[in-house]
């Protein structure tokens, strides 16, 4: 192995200008409008009259260097060597004319890439590491994403919806994915309290920070064991103690599972950004394809397709019809877990006699 070069520190990332396609660089800040030509192709037109065509393809986010090299090869062949990734893990290539865009798309088709995700449809799913890499995962993320997108891929490539439906998957309540503000999202949840490994706790964990990590004050010192104890009825299984203290494992194969939350958005279009709300409290983990989770998401999506007005996001549709109607339309069971008893609970109780019979 050759000697490694001298390291540099605190230089920050390369300047983005080095990575801009010449037409993008030339028309930076001068774009006038854009048009969506088809689900995988859009054009941006500059005040100068220049055009840049963008072709978008799906990626599984977890990708091998082999695949990145292939993206680079496509970029060198069609995009003057430039490419970008979107915040939803798609890959974008550029072309300067519609003919070149068509040649690019034909090449992508022959290589088996899936184009789409632009406009009112389902784009790629923002997600986390899951069992592939994370110690606190209550479910896998990549597998759930694959199972969902295999089911809904036509909403990526062709079919139109009333508006964008943003899907997200987080493998635990840390929510490294944008689950708390997505149209339909899955989050891995526990149903049982952590188990204390007293022997390891005294060596591996700091008792005050372990106690401090609990949002419901369920953890208190256990001086006789130089450890901690848990008031089980106060624990809501968030796993935050396990994050600071590895001697409090919380994973439980038969009781960990997936909750579905819906109706969140981040844009300000029409209505303010919204948090996602609980639709289904728990579905068991059924790897490799989580059929019950996929079926429940399909039920929610179909109810949205049936009931929403053009341009309404999932949350706007539910706000208009009311949550009582949401449960009626979807047939999802309303359970005691749907009623909030945490930090923001009181804001969620109905202080009106006006509601719909369901």
């Amino acid at each position: 192995m050759s000697a490694t070069p001298d390291r540099q520190t605190d230089i920050g990332p390369p300047h983005y200008e080095k990575f801009l396609h010449p037409v993008i660089k030339k028309n930076y800040g001068k774009w006038k409008y854009h048009e969506i030509i088809n689900p995988g192709l859009m054009v941006h037109v500059s005040e100068s009259g220049d055009k840049i065509y963008t072709v978008r393809v799906a990626s599984p986010r977890l990708i091998a260097t082999t695949t990145i090299r292939e993206y680079c090869e496509v970029a060198k062949k069609h995009s003057d060597g430039f490419l970008r990734f979107t915040s939803r893990n798609n890959v974008e290539f550029f072309a300067t004319t519609e003919e070149k865009a068509k040649a690019l798309m034909a090449d992508l088709t022959s290589r088996g890439y899936m184009m789409g995700g632009i406009g009112p449809r389902i784009s790629n799913i923002v997600h986390t590491q899951g069992w592939v890499h994370c110690h606190s995962a209550a479910t896998d993320a990549s597998g759930l994403v694959k199972a969902l997108m295999d089911e809904f891929h036509e909403y990526f490539t062709t079919k139109e919806l009333q508006n964008r439906v943003r899907l997200a998957v987080a493998c635990c309540v840390n929510m490294c994915g944008a689950v708390h503000c997505s149209d339909i999202a899955l989050v891995g949840v526990h149903k049982t309290p952590p188990r204390i490994d007293h022997e390891n706790l005294k060596n591996a964990c700091e008792v005050p920070s372990t106690i401090g990590a609990c949002p419901t004050s369920a953890i208190s010192p256990d001086p006789s064991k130089k450890s901690v104890k848990i008031k089980l009825e106060k624990c809501m299984y968030c796993g935050n103690c396990y994050s600071v203290c590895p001697a409090m494992p919380i994973a439980d194969a038969e009781n960990d599972g997936v909750a579905i939350v819906i109706g969140g958005k981040v844009s300000n279009l029409r209505s303010a950004p919204k948090f996602s709300r609980l639709a289904v409290p728990w579905i068991p983990n059924e790897p490799p394809r989580w059929p019950k989770v996929v079926a429940a998401v399909k039920t929610i999506l179909n109810a949205y397709i049936k009931g929403a007005k053009k341009h309404e996001r999932v949350g706007e549709w539910v706000d208009r019809i009311g949550w009582e109607s949401f449960f009626k339309e979807t047939g999802l069971e309303f359970k005691i877990q749907h009623i909030d008893d945490f930090t923001f609970a009181r804001e969620t109780f109905r202080t009106s006699a006006a509601f719909k019979w369901t």
Binding site: Y28, I63, V173
Partner: protein, 400 residues
């Protein structure tokens, strides 16, 4: 190395229309020419993940402290809890490389990173992680230093982790969007360079994220995912091209799809002319998004700053809320950096260990925060005034 284990459950996930992460791990397992201890990494990851699928639990342990010399972050330590069974993933650390603003790349430069990652790591990546880093997924402790030397000598650096400023990210802004009211990529790059020390040497109560969005559509989800959300906006009238409005009226119902959906009811359309009462517009972007050829943002541009968003751990999810209704975001961003420094100082003085800035303000009080960092109260900061009569006065408010 190729495939070492039977993986019937994961094999199911190679089927179906959407690109498969299992196929990707297999591709990394098929790489040749890697050092012996890295060659088995991706193939052991397949076996390890298959076992997680079979047992329905994760087999990763908490990360230990690993990193590169002089840095307190940028590397996430990860170990298998069954290393004897899967020695290839006994260590499976992640290296976060700070992505360039807007996630743009040039092919040769990106290929160079790939070559280095095959030499010093598993050949697996995430493009990108949730915060926006290039995530180099899986290597051993002894490869961290040489990998860092190789990438840094080529102009790349590590991203943030732990209780530090995390890698800032942004929408692509002015590079390819007509709605960008601020230069999100320049701002993001500038913040990243300005605060290299705060990023690489964790010294905060907890993590702090910046995200810059060019307009209120917020494609980077800054309002939900950044402690400091910088959202481009404008003052003045929406620019209207009436001829293009007429063109749109031929292919869509402007009354029902635009006018009737305006949340402030500030628009009307006579059939030939679109009128906007701009004093009532709240810049939600719906009309601009429906008719991009006809409508453009006003010309006095800047940003709204919002503070405090985070995921639910631990007392519930927060969205960022307005702390500065309008700020010009132009180099050298002095007003902005002065404010950030004051906010960080206040957080440092008052925050508890693992307390995000949003949680601290909730615990202590928003009015107190405003007073102590020197921001004037403004109705844009709230949805509605308080409904209780329990408010504080200062000594100077009292009759003497």
């Amino acid at each position: 190395m190729g495939k070492k284990y039977e993986t019937p459950l994961l094999d199911e996930l190679k089927k179906g229309a959407f690109p498969s992460f299992v196929t990707e791990i297999e591709k990394a397992a098929a790489l040749t020419g890697q050092p012996e201890d890295l060659a088995s990494m991706a193939s052991d990851l397949l076996g390890h993940t298959e076992l997680c699928y079979k047992e329905k639990v994760t087999h990763w342990k908490h990360g230990g402290i690993v990193g590169v010399r002089g840095y307190g972050g940028g590397v996430i330590g990860r170990y298998s809890d069954i290393p004897a069974k899967f020695p290839g993933v006994a260590h499976f650390h992640t290296v976060r490389i700070n992505s360039p603003s807007g996630f743009y790349y040039q092919a040769d430069s990106l290929k160079e990173i790939c070559d280095l990652w095959d030499k010093y790591g598993s050949g697996l990546t995430n493009m990108h992680g949730s915060t926006g880093d290039m995530v180099m997924l899986g290597t051993r402790t002894e490869y961290l230093e040489p990998f860092f030397a190789e990438v840094s000598s080529r102009g790349w650096d590590l991203g943030g982790s732990g209780s530090a400023m995390r890698t800032p990210s942004c929408c692509l802004g002015m590079s390819r969007c007509e709605w960008a009211n601020i230069d999100t990529m320049a701002i993001t790059n500038d913040i990243t360079q300005h605060y290299q020390d705060e990023m690489h040497r964790p010294a905060f109560p907890y993590k702090f994220k910046f995200k810059a969005a060019g307009c209120p559509v917020d494609c980077i989800a800054s309002v939900a995912r950044a402690d400091m959300s910088i959202i481009g906006t404008w003052k003045g009238d929406i620019r209207i091209d009436q001829a293009e409005v007429k063109e749109y009226s031929k292919k869509m119902n402007i009354q029902s799809e635009v006018i009737d959906m305006c949340p402030t009811e500030c628009m009307s359309f006579s059939g030939s002319e679109l009128l906007i009462n701009n004093s009532q517009c709240n810049r939600c972007m719906h009309c601009l998004a429906r008719m991009p050829k006809a409508l453009r943002p006003g010309t006095e541009k800047g940003a709204t700053l919002l503070l405090g968003s985070k995921a639910p751990i631990v007392t519930g999810a927060l969205m960022s809320w307005v702390i500065v209704p309008f700020i010009k975001m132009e180099p050298p961003y002095k007003e902005f950096y002065d404010l950030i420094d004051k906010i960080w100082e206040w957080w440092d003085e008052n925050g508890k260990n693992r307390e995000r800035i949003g949680e601290l303000i909730e615990r202590v009080s928003f009015p107190k925060f405003l007073k102590e960092v020197g921001l004037d109260p403004h109705p844009a900061m709230i949805k509605e005034p308080r409904r209780d009569p329990f408010f504080f006065w200062s000594e100077e408010d009292l009759a003497k």
